[in-house]
């Protein structure tokens, strides 16, 4: 009888130690506080290469309940449509959140597009050379009826570009164990184009031109820190 009591005391001590450790290891420093909040409106150039903001198209705003969800997850969102001299249109959508822990982390497009009634017919990862960095990207093809929308996106968690939920989680762990709470920026470009390869080429040109005129100080936040 006393043997089991002794065991119980040992187990409870182990439990108490674990609980204390978990509490102490909880990251407390928001990266968004140390790095400063980016101002998406000014960080992303309004005009570069042959691209400029398209003012002819009326902006389609999300429905009120979608907007409520967006506001609860993200601190800042930016939605713009650009057009170039050839008449190609690109939609840029950026979302920034200061806390990438479970409840408030960025939602990935392959989850939100289907939630809005789209079907993802193609989904693979790729790389783009942007701002001197090898940026991992994910390519999606979303379709809904006659609308075909090729998408290129990546997500920066803290200082690292991630393109999957697992990457996102691992990046959060890596920074979290250093006591940091990473912020997150989801950069997504898409266009209306039934030809995915063509759409991707236009998006690649758009992103390359945009990265070339990017302010040096904002590059790490948007394209990830260069790892050598």
């Amino acid at each position: 009888m006393s043997g089991s009591r002794l065991r119980a005391v040992v187990v409870v001590c182990a439990i108490a130690a674990t609980a204390a450790m978990a509490h102490l290891a909880k990251p407390t420093v928001f990266m968004t506080d140390t790095l400063g909040k980016p101002n998406l409106e000014t960080v992303f150039p309004k005009q570069f290469g042959t691209w400029r903001i398209d003012t002819s198209m009326p902006m389609i705003l999300p429905s009120p309940d979608t907007q409520a969800l967006l506001n609860s997850i993200y601190n800042q969102t930016l939605t713009r449509t650009y057009v170039n001299d050839e008449g190609n249109r690109i939609m840029l959508s950026v979302a920034y959140g200061g806390d990438q822990s479970d409840g408030t982390r960025a939602h990935l497009p392959e989850v939100c597009y289907p939630a809005q009634g789209f079907q993802i017919t193609s989904n693979f990862t790729s790389h783009l050379n942007l701002a001197g960095r090898n940026v991992a990207t994910r390519q999606l093809m979303a379709t809904q009826g006659l609308r075909n929308e090729p998408i290129t996106y990546w997500l920066v968690v803290g200082d690292q570009v991630t393109v999957s939920r697992t990457d996102q989680k691992l990046a959060q762990f890596r920074l979290g164990l250093k006591g940091l709470i990473p912020d997150g920026m989801l950069v997504r470009v898409s266009s209306i184009d039934p030809d995915m390869a063509h759409g991707y080429q236009v998006q690649k040109g758009f992103l390359t031109d945009m990265a070339a005129t990017f302010p040096e100080t904002a590059k790490d936040r948007v394209f990830g820190v260069k790892f050598n």
Binding site: V11, T18, A19, A25, S101, G103, F173, G176
Partner: protein, 307 residues
Amino acid sequence: MSAVLARKTGGVKRSRDPILPSGADIVVLGLLLAGFALLYLPSYLELARSVWSTDEQGHGPIILAVSIWLFYNKRLELAALPARPVLWLGVPILVVGLVAYALGRSQSFLMLEVGSQLLVLTALILLFMGRGALRLVWFLLFFMVFMTPFPEALVAIVTGPLKSAVSTVAANLLYALGYPVSRVGVILNVGQYQLLVADACAGLNSMFTLEALGLLYMNLMKYTSVARNVTLAILVIPIAFMANIVRVMILVLVTYHFGDAAGQGFVHGFAGMVLFIVGLVLVLTVDHVLGWIFKQEKPARAAGALS
């Protein structure tokens, strides 16, 4: 007379045993309960503040409450078992469970944090009661798997095809009944209305909830035939699927006949109830049919069974 008396004392005993009967060490039990509460009470509060209030994980508190109740019901049987601790197995499981908890809790990874309770519980049972007790409550531990928040990616992989299938069948059935329904992906057009079959409406999580309730039902019925239990557990999956179709059809019909406001208003929540009522009725019906099939097996099995 003596039979009546025995029965009476039995009845009295049953009505007043909130605390474990003789043989239970209250100090040990108290320590372990306090330890468990120290770990998981904050987790439950966290869950209550975040995911439990969403449609996707709304079944979490129900499963927690049912688990506690099931545990409580087993307490006399557990106390009656001779204690045969298995330290060599219990200690490593406890260590893994605690590490998972520390990582999950500190890095706010709910799946790891909540999932670790299965390991910690298993370890505690092995350390203080032994394998016999684990056999007695294995179902309970399995039941608690359903309150773990699963990763979205996994949920999305299963939900996507499920949603398409539910929308397709619902649209085809309604069309066959003469309603002006057309479907593009998971968007249903009925009359002048457009409905989106949302994740929560046809999701994996409603399947989980129904599967969990099916398992609970089986456990309460205490069937001794393994084949019967397994058959029922597998049949719950198509049952949940059908219940989802009925739910979507009800929403489409309500929207068509009474307008968009009705379809999105209280009827939406009501359709959720319908999902469970349809599921439950189907489970009962299927179980009744299974009763005929497994009739012959029952006595033979019961003789060999322990309980």
